[in-house]
């Protein structure tokens, strides 16, 4: 893991004292609320429905036990004893007081963390594959590059007052778990003739105008990365629209100018910008790689795992759903579900955080990850430790066996916390999860991603859910629109709108009809929902959603 050097420490300490000063100057009137706003946003502080919200970066989703324990401490001391893990590998505190925020930032700095550029019209916290450095299928660990991007983008003088926010995601695996095609820039690590480089995707994004990103170059040599990123952002900072915030993201710029024109402008700028990088970044990159060296994997017998697997059906069910293949023999990647049916997706209590910190230290080489699916991951656990780990997780309600299943729902905060919401999303997630849990159908249904947003801004990624749910307001009544067939992976696709929306009451039965239709139509248990959908298209599912239309037609 990356550890802060003296430069990073001094940077954060100075930045925090500047923010402390900005808070005071806001209070004494030197800064207007308008002027204070972007300054607090670039330090992660939002004003929400009930209170301020502090969004803390977990860069590329990686943290250690000590950091997780500090997040728990902050939740207890300055919030209500819990935090909310988000789809962008952040943790949000929903109840801080403005005057406490500088102290919270200092507490984060103690463990090498910050909230810089988690909001505002800046380059945001860079996200990465949450299985990085552990999964069996990756070409290279993307995190050293992500760290390089973090440093380059932090406090970048050209890019603090851009048309809109800018999000970068990176994956080192051909199986895209970082949703790179739905980011302003997506980076896929690739190799060409033995040389390391990137496929660069620009102009993806969800929100009110969902767009799948377009490839701007299919091979960028590794050493050109920072100047190239800088060129893309610089061109957009110049020509991106500032007259309408809904047209400001780079996806609209790419759409309006066309990818060829953007490519031409970027190449032109790259020719100028490239010379301002001496190459020192590549020396640093080589150093950072050593920070992310794999832990010393141990070799020991796996008999304990086999015994538990055969004798304990609850452990078996958890192992079948919550483990993923690790690159090291005898190891597994463990996904801890923060989505117990009926709870708020992504909310973790301070006790749960402390337990996960302890378990990471005891069984997981002191590493944790936050996934964009709002779960916590222990990337390196030896199989023989899994039964003990599972038993410990059960104590804190963290052993739910539902990773990838219908109750592993992504939901945005919605009406419960968000000032922009047009409908509730958390309660809908809770209802769906509870319903299918009661039916005991979840494991039978298998892999199925439901994603819910409480308004058109799409923080819950509903466009790329196998089943996407968008909560709107129709004359004061919540109305939920359903999209089907979305995909967030390397075969990314925006889901198809099924038809008219449903009231909150009608929604869960409607989802149940879609799922029943799938169970009916699939060729067998091996055919996942999304595969059946791809084979048959929208029609049969639409018929299931709107049986009354069928009846009318008959």
């Amino acid at each position: 893991m990356y550890t802060y050097n003296d430069f990073d420490k001094s940077f954060i300490a100075t930045r925090n004292s500047q923010f402390r000063d900005q808070v005071e100057r806001r209070i004494d009137g030197s800064l207007t609320e308008d002027e204070f706003k972007p300054l607090r946003l670039m330090n992660g502080l939002y004003l929400q429905l009930h209170a301020y919200m502090l969004r803390v970066a977990i860069p590329y989703g990686t943290l250690n036990g000590g950091q997780m324990r500090q997040l728990a401490f902050i939740a207890d001391k300055w919030d209500k004893g819990y935090g909310h893990f988000t789809t962008r590998q952040n943790i949000q505190y929903n109840w801080p007081e403005l005057r406490d925020v500088p102290d919270m930032l200092d507490a984060l700095a103690e463990v090498g963390m910050h909230a810089i550029q988690t909001s505002g019209n800046t380059i945001r916290n860079v996200t990465a594959d949450h299985f990085a450095g552990a999964s069996a299928d990756e070409i290279a660990d993307p995190r050293p590059v992500a760290e390089l991007i973090r440093q380059w983008s932090t406090d970048h003088p050209e890019f603090q007052f851009m048309p809109r926010k800018f999000k970068i995601a990176i994956t080192g695996s051909p199986n895209d778990r970082a949703v790179t095609r739905a980011h302003d820039i997506g980076l896929r690590m690739v190799e060409k003739d033995g040389e390391a480089g990137f496929e660069v995707i620009v102009g993806g994004g969800l929100g009110r105008t969902p767009m799948i990103g377009k490839v701007i170059t299919n091979f960028l040599p590794q050493e050109d990365l920072l100047p190239y990123l800088e060129s893309v952002v610089s061109v957009w900072n110049q020509i991106g629209r500032r007259d309408n915030k809904y047209k400001a993201r780079i996806k609209i710029t790419v759409h309006e100018h066309g990818i060829e024109e953007i490519r031409r402008l970027v190449n032109e700028r790259f020719a100028i910008v490239k010379g301002s990088f001496s190459g020192i970044d590549q020396v640093r990159l080589a150093q950072y790689k050593t920070h992310f060296a794999a832990p010393d994997f141990t070799v020991k017998a796996k008999a304990v795992f086999k015994d538990a697997y055969h004798s304990d059906p609850i452990f078996r069910s958890w192992a079948d759903t919550n483990l993923s293949a690790h690159k090291a023999d005898g190891y597994s990647i463990v996904s801890i579900s923060i989505k117990k049916q009926g709870d708020t997706p992504g909310d973790a209590t301070s006790d749960q955080m402390r337990l996960m910190a302890d378990l990471a230290e005891t069984y997981g080489h002191n590493e944790l990850r936050i996934s964009h699916e709002q779960n916590v991951i222990l990337p390196h656990v030896h199989k023989s430790d899994l039964p003990a780990l599972h038993a410990a997780l059960k104590e804190q309600d963290l052993a739910t066996a539902n990773i990838g299943l219908i109750s592993d729902i992504i939901a945005c905060p919605g009406m419960d916390y968000c000032a922009l919401a047009t409908a509730r999303s958390i309660p809908i997630a809770q209802e769906i999860a509870t319903r299918f849990d009661d039916l005991k159908l979840e494991h039978e249904i298998g892999n199925l991603k439901i994603k819910i947003s409480g308004c058109i801004n799409a923080c819950g990624h509903h466009h790329v859910g196998h089943i996407g749910i968008l909560g709107l307001d129709r004359a004061g009544v919540e109305n939920y629109q359903v999209t089907l067939g979305g995909d967030h992976t390397e075969t990314a696709k925006v889901g198809d709108r099924a038809g008219h929306g449903f009231t909150a009451k009608e929604l869960v039965p409607a989802i149940e009809r879609v799922v029943d239709a799938y169970l009916d139509l699939r060729t067998g248990k091996d055919e996942e929902f999304i595969e059946t959908y791809r084979r048959l298209g929208l029609a049969p599912f639409k018929a299931a959603l709107y049986p009354e239309a069928q009846a009318d037609a008959a």
């Binding site: 930045r15 000063d21 002027e35 440093q151 003088p157 110049q238 020192i280 970044d281």
Partner: protein, 134 residues
């Protein structure tokens, strides 16, 4: 009267040759006023050019930073001034990107007195760009 801000704080404006609006500039122009929506590639860097003043219509509009950087990267070495709604918290960004100075209104100077600007005269410290670019 406007106020000029440099690393030493507030000073009187020392530039007395005025500005030619960008677009009316001839080959022998000495100083130009550049609006925020200018394409930096259209600014011709002639041997006589001594002063470029870039407008910031609002502190939230960061296009001027890109124009300044592109001018510096394409070889402009004369005086470079940020003009308009720039706040003291942006001073280090302006300096790091290549501006020499910032010109602000009396009103803004009254609200953000010179200590608040001098507080950020340490803009050379703690700069990640330095470490990434070398």
């Amino acid at each position: 009267m406007t106020i000029l801000v440099t690393d030493t704080g507030f000073t009187a404006d020392t530039w007395d040759q005025g500005y030619t609006p960008f677009g009316e500039a001839a080959n022998d122009v000495v100083s130009i006023d550049v609006p925020a929506d200018t394409n930096p590639a259209d600014i011709e860097i002639t041997p006589t050019l001594k002063m470029v003043r870039i407008d910031f219509p609002s502190f939230a509009d960061g296009r001027g930073f890109t124009i300044a950087r592109m001018l510096r990267l394409t070889g402009y070495t004369g005086r470079l001034r940020a003009h308009g709604h720039v706040i003291s918290d942006q001073y280090p960004m302006a300096r790091r990107i290549g501006f020499d100075e910032v010109e602000i209104s009396q009103d803004l100077a009254a609200r953000q007195p010179q200590e608040q600007w001098k507080f950020r005269a340490d803009w050379k410290d703690n700069d990640y760009q330095d470490r990434m670019r070398g």
